[in-house]
Amino acid sequence: MSSFSTGLSSKLAIISAIVILPLNSAMAEDPTVNRMIASQCAQCHGTNGYARGSFPDLGGDEAKDQADHLLDMKGEDRAEDMMDHQALGYTDDQIRRIAQYYSTLPESGDD
């Protein structure tokens, strides 16, 4: 019985490793999930990040620069601007995903 339990635990551990490993790897990210999160920026920053008026375009920015910018807003001692509050609404991982998504889009569009 003891042996059976140990064996089962080992098997479960191996199965868990197989299942969990891809989730921990950026390679396994579902790109449509990134697109879904990032699309929530479009209400203010335009479809695919091509903004009208004075609001910044998002398409084509370096992912690291954009993520750092959002993380800086999130880290403000006291949220002042609308974007400070918006940044507080997202996890660091979501911010990275948003930045990653927009970095893959062209700098400007016809919208």
Binding site: L23, E29, D30, T32, V33, R35, M36, I37, S39, Q40, A42, Q43, C44, H45, G46, T47, A51, R52, G53, S54, F55, A79, E80, M82, D84, H85, Q86, L88, G89, Y90, Q94, R97, D111
Partner: protein, 435 residues
Amino acid sequence: MSLTRRNFIQMVPASAAALALTSGSTAKAAEPIHHVTVLGGGFAGCTIAKYIRMWSDGEIAVTLIEPRANHVSCVMSNLILNKRLKTADLTFEYNDLQLKYGVNVVRDKALKIRGPQKQIRLKNAGWISYDSLVVATGIQFDKIPGLNYKNAPHAWIAGGSTNKLRNLINKMPDTGTFVMTVPKTPYRCPPGPYERACVVADILGRRSGYLDGSGSTPPRVIVLDANPGIQAEKSTFTSAFNDLYGGIIEYIPDAQVESVESDDPNSLVVHTTQGSFGGDVINVIPTHGAQSILRRSGLTGESRWADVDPVTYATTNTLFQDVYVIGDAQGTSQPKSGHMANAQAKICADSIIRTVHGQSSYTEERLQNITTNSACFSPITYDKASWLTAVYSYNPDTGSMALVPGSLGEAHNWSTRNFNDMFDWSNNLFADTFK
């Protein structure tokens, strides 16, 4: 556009594909693999129609059914009252959805949904089958005894009613009395009624000279709130009501409308649980719920709104398969606004595309990343505005959307910069929705 049942069914996929072909878009010309029918051409309906076409790369056909020829945005419509905007500035045609994205737009009115049969009944085309159905039909006002919209326009579904209210304000005495009501929550656009009170106080306060000191008699703006307190931007509106418009605005909480006298335009009275209030102009915004088609079809159950799963926006009524409700008609706790309707439409669009492709909407990765956000600006004066923002995230433990701590914020003051940003915000929102 009038269609018989037979030619409606026959033309939809072909028409959508043909439009996509002629638009020069990236949409594929192949026969669609699925057909989504959308009821309602407002913020929720137009956004989901556009995004399903865009994200499915034209694989999924979309038909949008809307009884009106165009949509007049409620967003920014208080600026029609002070003539900063005209109705035409807020009117959006469906041409871009048709030509750029290949959405088939049909002018008709949906009357009934039969879930088990997956059919809808249209006023002109009769009974039509659907693969998936998105209901984005907005709100419907409760009936209030004695309320005659001809003399007491609501201006809460933008269009002719908004113009009528503007004209009445234009004609009323400079030091007259404007009486307005705030509906019981949940209602469309939480800051909107308080914003309207400020806009009207600004109009009358300038016109009477009371605000610049050239006139000594204040106009009166009486705000009758069915709720126990201000429901949004409390700090901003408390300050505006008490300080900026002190002497003009009188705010009365817990005032629920019982009846209205409005058949005679010279005798307009609102009767509430806090007393009766007569005015030169009265603006009663009735309490509202989802449109009656949802209630008639059994999508609202005991609730005034449609219960949905915010992972997909599918109705929780299991008699209805592949039926989704988004925008103001759905019953999650998220605020009802055009911005939020747009946000929900994208979550729903992603889920429908996944379902069509045989993929789950319930992967751990997706569940951890379902977010919506709200942002809006409120004009407080002729050229100054405030703002309000919040982010909502899916909570798997409760199965509901929850406000993310720290994300709720409002402007510290009203400013010209905010007023200018308001136009950038709305222009981007309009473009992301209709263009």
